[in-house]
Structure formats: structure tokens, C-alpha cells
């Protein structure tokens, strides 16, 4: 135990501090998810419309967000905003902005996919029943799309949690930063702490994401049968 640095975790507040670090990452993902889901539903629905201008703009936004590594997006907002807009955004604010924009793009694509998977005759039948467009979406399309959407959007949450680990690179004090501090502080007393501490961080991320993945898979099985 001593040699691998697991004892370091139980010194003082270390374990609580690590959890706090994970909390920062989870908080950023939670805020981003809460913003992305409604925004994604809105944009995704707009994307199914025929208007070529709206479609073109959304398509460009979506493709750019998806092809750029999230690290690049973080850098663009964190460093770019200071230079070109004169804003001084904190790392955490930049992270929330980036992950909301990215999450919205991903979510809108999921929504678009779910809506276009609804067969054409559902729209026709709704029109034949004299439902207005809003009623069609509200009563007919969304409830059916939701079944396909739910597992996918829960998967998006785990992706979001995993991706927020990147905020380390723009100086947000999150779980890895705390881990580094703990390892540094105990350099003399337990030089091998890095193994145990990073293994713990690894397992903490796993324990945060695994139940959510399982839930997504469970829902997927249920809805597709």
C-alpha cells in the first residue's frame, strides 16, 4: 500500500479534495448539458426544415463543432476571446461556453436524426386529422422521437463528463490538478504516490460514467424491442 501511494489518499483531506476536483468537472458538464439539451432540440428541429439558409448555417456550425477537437475549441474561446474581443473569461466560464456550444451541436444532430427517422406518413396522418404544425410536433413527432433520443442523449452526458477532463489544459483546478498537487506535496514521504493517485482518479471517472452508460444501454434495449 505504502509503496503505491494509496495511503496518501487517506491523509488529511486528500480524498475529499479529489472528490471536490471531480465535482468541478461534473458541475461544468451538468451546466453544459442543461444548456445543450433544449438548445439542441430547437436547432435539431430547425434543421429538419426546408429553408436552405437556416439549414446551411446550422450545417456549417454543426460540422465545424464536430470536426474540431474539443481542445481546439477550448483554446479558441479561452485564448481567442481575450485577444479579439477583449474579454477576460475565466477557464471555467470558457469551458461552460465551449461545452454548451459543442453539446448543442451534438444534441441537434441526434434530434435531427431522431426526427427524420419518423416515417413520412405520420406527418400526413396528422395533417389529415387537421392538426396544426405545432400540434403535430408536440403530440405526434416528439413523443416518438423521444424513444430513440433518450439513450443517445444519455450517452452524450457521459461523453460530456469525459471531455470536461480537458479543462485541465486551460488552467481550471479540477481533479487532475488536485491529484498533481497531492502528489507534489507528498513527494518526500511517498515518492510513488503517482501510481495510486492517478489510478484512483481513473476509477473515479469510471464510477461517474459507468452507471450512466449502463442506463443508456438499458434504455436502448428497452426501446428497440
Amino acid at each position: 500500500m505504502q509503496a503505491l501511494g494509496l495511503d496518501v489518499l487517506f491523509k488529511g483531506q486528500n480524498f475529499i479534495r479529489l472528490l471536490g476536483g471531480l465535482g468541478v468537472a461534473l458541475r461544468i458538464s451538468l451546466i453544459a448539458v442543461v444548456i445543450s439539451i433544449p438548445a439542441g432540440v430547437l436547432l435539431g428541429t430547425l434543421m429538419t426544415k426546408k429553408n436552405p439558409v437556416i439549414r446551411g448555417i446550422l450545417r456549417f456550425y454543426l460540422e465545424f463543432m464536430r470536426i474540431m477537437p474539443q481542445m481546439v475549441l477550448l483554446f479558441l474561446v479561452f485564448f481567442g476571446s481575450t485577444r479579439s474581443l477583449g474579454l477576460d473569461l475565466s477557464g471555467e466560464t470558457s469551458a461552460v461556453i465551449v461545452f454548451s456550444l459543442w453539446g448543442t451541436a451534438e444534441m441537434s444532430d441526434l434530434v435531427r436524426g431522431a426526427i427524420t427517422s419518423i416515417p413520412r406518413h405520420q406527418y400526413d396522418a396528422a395533417a389529415a386529422l387537421c392538426l396544426s404544425e405545432r400540434q403535430t410536433y408536440y403530440y405526434i413527432i416528439f413523443p416518438q422521437a423521444l424513444r430513440r433520443l433518450l439513450p443517445l442523449s444519455i450517452n452524450l452526458i457521459t461523453r460530456m463528463i469525459k471531455t470536461t477532463s480537458l479543462v485541465l489544459m486551460i488552467g481550471v483546478v479540477e481533479i487532475i490538478k488536485v491529484a498533481q498537487q497531492i502528489i507534489e506535496a507528498n513527494r518526500m514521504s511517498s515518492p510513488n504516490a503517482a501510481f495510486g493517485v492517478y489510478l484512483t482518479v481513473f476509477m473515479m471517472y469510471f464510477l461517474a460514467c459507468f452507471p450512466i452508460s449502463m442506463l443508456a444501454r438499458f434504455l436502448e434495449k428497452r426501446f428497440y424491442e
Partner: protein, 219 residues
């Protein structure tokens, strides 16, 4: 934006891009090998190995690459496993990518109806022939979209390599911003170089998807 500065930075970014592509390519290649192996284990229901593969897939899919790299690069040396940054990067990418590739191959294999194998066997093919000539080609054509998505995903993930002090594109950009404050130029080149790497892969993937779709028989 100053074109002179961009000219000065270009060679630096070029080198970094080559490193990114090299490591990314190796990572994708090894991931595909690992993924194929894991998918075979799951498909053939090899006892014990199957449980190990399952644990590996869950561990790898539910943790971020950054954490995996930190563990490999800073944690493992403490138990005597030392790696260079480049080896660590490729190892991390393979650990992550292996599970994604495994899932892609497995879903392809499972999409081939049982009747295909039974028909092949009833025509007098051996099990090995049935797998090689009947099942694999069809499974592959189903897997292609997921495989292409994985390749792009893995290439994007190489952007965290700078965390283990590899001189990749992110590292170069961050370095130049820190040294000279030419933020706009540095970020512009960063975006351009990632587009140069990723756009052709995306386009190639779409072409490949269109071509292999015809291989899907009986569906």
C-alpha cells in the same frame, strides 16, 4: 492577422502536424488490431477471455483519454513500466481506440443474420470458410460508418497528447501563444492544420461508405 508571422510559424506547425498524423495513424492501426481481436473474442464467446475483454471495454469507454495518458505516463513508471512520450501517446490511444473499434466490429458481426452462416455451412463450407467468405465481408460493410467515425474520433483525441509533453499541434500553439502573444495567428494556424488533417479523412470516409454499401447482401 500578420502574414509574416504566419509564414514564420508554418514550419513549426508542419512538423507538429506530421507528428500528430504519425502517432494518430499508429494509434488507429493498433486500435483496429485490438478491436478486431476483442470483437472476435466476443463473437466466438471464448470463455474467461470474454469477461476480460468486457471489463477492458467498459474501463476504456468510461474514462477520458487524458486520464489514461496521465496514468500511463506518470503512474506506471512507479511500478517499473517506463515509456517515452510517443510510446505513451500511442499506447493510450490504442487503449482507448481498441474498445471503440471492438464495438464497431462487433455490431457489424452481429448484424449478419444467423441464416447466412447456416446456409454457408449447408453448402459444405467449413466454419473457417464461412467466416472468411460469407460473414466477414458483410460484417465489414456494416461496420464501415462506425469505423470511419472512430478514425476521426481518434485523430481528434490526439489533441490531448500535449499533456504528456509531446510536441503536437496543441503544444505548438500553446507554446507560441505563451512566448510571443501572437494569439490570433497561432489559433488560426491551429484550426487550419486540424482541418487539413481531418477534412480529407471525413471526405474519404464518406466515399468509402458509399462504395461498400453495395456489399450488403440480402438486406
Amino acid at each position: 492577422m500578420n502574414p509574416e508571422i504566419i509564414g514564420q510559424y508554418l514550419p513549426l506547425y508542419g512538423e507538429a502536424a506530421i507528428l500528430t498524423v504519425e502517432l494518430g495513424f499508429l494509434g488507429v492501426l493498433f486500435s483496429a488490431v485490438v478491436g478486431l481481436f476483442c470483437a472476435a473474442v466476443l463473437y466466438l464467446r471464448v470463455p474467461i477471455l470474454r469477461q476480460i475483454v468486457w471489463i477492458y471495454i467498459e474501463l476504456s469507454r468510461n474514462t477520458p483519454l487524458l486520464i489514461q495518458l496521465f496514468f500511463i505516463y506518470y503512474g506506471l513508471p512507479k511500478v517499473g513500466i517506463r515509456t517515452t512520450p510517443a510510446v505513451c501517446g500511442v499506447a493510450g490511444l490504442t487503449f482507448l481506440g481498441g474498445s471503440y473499434m471492438a464495438e464497431a466490429f462487433r455490431s457489424g458481426l452481429e448484424a449478419v443474420p444467423k441464416i447466412q452462416e447456416e446456409s454457408a455451412l449447408s453448402l459444405g463450407m467449413t466454419k473457417a470458410q464461412a467466416i472468411r467468405l460469407v460473414i466477414l465481408p458483410q460484417a465489414f460493410s456494416v461496420s464501415v460508418p462506425a469505423l470511419v467515425a472512430n478514425v476521426i474520433f481518434l485523430l481528434k483525441e490526439t489533441s490531448v497528447f500535449s499533456a504528456v509533453s509531446l510536441m503536437d499541434l496543441m503544444f505548438t500553439a500553446k507554446n507560441l501563444i505563451g512566448l510571443y502573444y501572437d494569439t490570433t495567428e497561432a489559433l488560426f494556424l491551429l484550426v487550419v492544420f486540424y482541418l487539413i488533417i481531418l477534412l480529407p479523412v471525413g471526405v474519404l470516409g464518406t466515399v468509402l461508405e458509399k462504395r461498400v454499401r453495395y456489399a450488403g447482401f440480402g438486406s
